[in-house]
Symmetry: C2
Subunit: 333 residues, 2 copies
DNA sequence: GGAAGATGAAAAATCGTTTAATCACCGTAA
DNA sequence: TTACGGTGATTAAACGATTTTTCATCTTCC
């Protein structure tokens, strides 16, 4: 059994109020008793218990994290960053999976409230408007989502991806997405299209319509594939390699999110990474402001970072740059 | 503001005890008032608040999940399964990352206790002995870890992997691990070695010693690579393909854990999947037993499941089976 | 010397819920 | 009529902390 405040007080012959005052630094305590008490506290390793404190103060020090799909490979990085940022400010993270279902999402939020979460960080499932929640909330989704508070600048990311390839001489692109209904993917693709120079052309393929024949695309003059996720980039890359094409010799491939495998494949996958620590820190900060009901900042757009590895290179017949080809592991911002 | 028990009681002109009794079904309440109260409860959407209940009952309905590294790509599946299983039994999940550091791990456990967790599920970091925790705990690691409660049968998984390839005519293997100090990987490799038939031979390579030259290995007669993780299998596979080898034509590759990308690459990666729902359910069940201080079952070994995709096939010059080659998406247990 | 102020610490209220103890009432049996 | 058992509901205590209020003591100043 953990030591309780009352026990400490009794052993020392002081009141619980005094011990609590020492703990919080508030109230009036003589230097003498302060030393005495803090010594005892350290000795028995006392920590104030959550429920009692939560009941009295109305603050549990726990935040909810509601995700549409925990098994999404992007999640580990996000969850880790948020857990780290939260712990840094002394808060815990309660997770919930809405299984991409608006009803389950609402239910998850209710459970968070019931469990005493001080606020929630929510990556809303598609088509849900997160509003009028009965507790402070931060929405992480995409810039085009109403109510969004923090997210990567997906559009700028898409722009960077296309510009990177254009600088390498590529002019004919395939933009590869999974679902039209994903606002993140739409933003990324919009960014790519916005960066198209005169004389460049891009065709958009959606995996929800079926997997395109990459080998055929390559034969028809496409020299670069920009996928909205490393997962799709990997699909393209392995299919191209399987069909005998060289990456990046014949076709360059670039992805998004810098997933766990991206650095470990051959060729290393060039990708646009999300700055998860930054996003997490911003989310926690935003939530903290709400908890102190301070004035809220505008939605925060965190830039994406181009990570150049070996899956992108000069377009065929394009004069190669001075530095021959990027080495695996190079990181450019 | 959420409605409180006291408010409901006052509005109905009854005592809080009565409302609480209706909620729990205990105590003595007339059918009449029972209806009245439950109607009101439903009307205002009342749910008992966590902290108050936790304080009184000593149970928070929250479990801690402590992991050595959230960013591990295996984590999403585990976390999702545990969250689902916990929610099914009305419990929430508080996550923490020990960053593979024993000190941080102990600290994380302390925080869980402080936040009122009823018990914890812990995937211990290497070299730590989880024992004498001041609260119910379930350890998920490997069969050879002392104190382990639930885990996949990694050894049997390794055995299955090697047998699968042996049945396809392979005789010369490379067993590919990351770190000798990982008990999970050691168990898997031990299982592989235990299944070697007479005339078969296997060489073990550890990535911590550097990435081996897979192309050279293939040239020297290796026809199958068994990696202890899909991540390493992917490394091998892309390097082989990049060097012009055909998978599985020249070399078969098999991995572990059925990570998110494994089904989406070409060729689809044959792998041994962990039965996460089963593991999660067993962990939660084990914890529930501890909470009712019932007698505890022996450590539970959950079988791994062979998922046959396209990265494994008959050894070169081996008579092909009747069904030509496994199709992507096929699942065999 | 007595009032006012400062100081240190204790007493008590409070948060929301559960639960053991108590109570009022009614019908029934002695 | 009295005692008793059963029923339905209330009262009050308890959980572990924080915080406001109160109280006692000691200075200091007129």
């Amino acid at each position: 059994m953990q030591p309780k405040l009352k026990e400490i007080a009794k052993e020392l012959g002081v009141s619980t109020a005094t011990v609590s005052n020492v703990l919080s630094g508030k109230g009036r305590v003589s230097e003498e008793t302060r030393k005495l008490v803090s010594e005892k506290i350290r000795e028995v390793g006392y920590r104030p218990g959550g429920p009692g404190r939560a009941l009295r103060t109305g603050r549990s020090g726990v935040l909810g994290l509601v995700l549409p799909d925990i098994s999404n490979p992007l999640f580990p990085a996000l969850a880790q960053a948020i857990e780290t940022a939260a712990e840094r400010s002394g808060q815990g993270i309660l997770i919930a999976d809405s299984h991409a279902d608006p009803g389950a999402q609402a239910e998850a939020v209710q459970r968070m409230i019931q469990r005493g979460a001080d606020g929630i960080i929510i990556v809303p499932c598609r088509g849900t408007q997160v509003s009028d929640l009965p507790l402070p909330a931060v929405v992480i989704d995409s810039a085009s989502t109403p109510g969004n508070c923090v997210c990567s600048d997906h559009q700028q990311g898409g722009k960077q991806a296309l510009e990177h390839l254009q600088a390498l001489g590529h002019r004919t692109f395939v933009l590869l997405g999974q679902s039209r209904r994903s606002s993140v993917q739409s933003d990324r693709i919009a960014g790519m299209q916005s960066a198209l120079a005169a004389g460049s052309q891009a065709e958009t393929c959606w995996l929800e319509d079926g997997i395109p024949d990459f080998a055929d695309l390559a034969r028809r003059g496409v020299t670069a594939i920009i996928a909205t996720s490393d997962l799709h980039a990997l699909t393209a890359l392995t299919r191209l390699q399987g069909a005998g094409f060289s990456v990046p010799g014949d076709v360059s491939v670039i992805g998004f999110d810098d997933l766990s495998f991206s650095a470990r494949i051959t060729p290393g996958l060039t990708t646009l990474a999300q700055n998860m620590p930054e996003i997490a820190a911003a989310a926690i900060a935003h939530l903290s402001l709400q908890l102190e009901n301070a004035s809220l900042p505008a939605a925060r757009l965190v830039p994406m970072e181009l990570v150049v590895r070996s899956s992108t290179g000069p377009a065929p017949d394009f004069p190669s740059p001075k530095k021959p080809s990027p080495q695996q592991g190079d990181v450019t911002t």
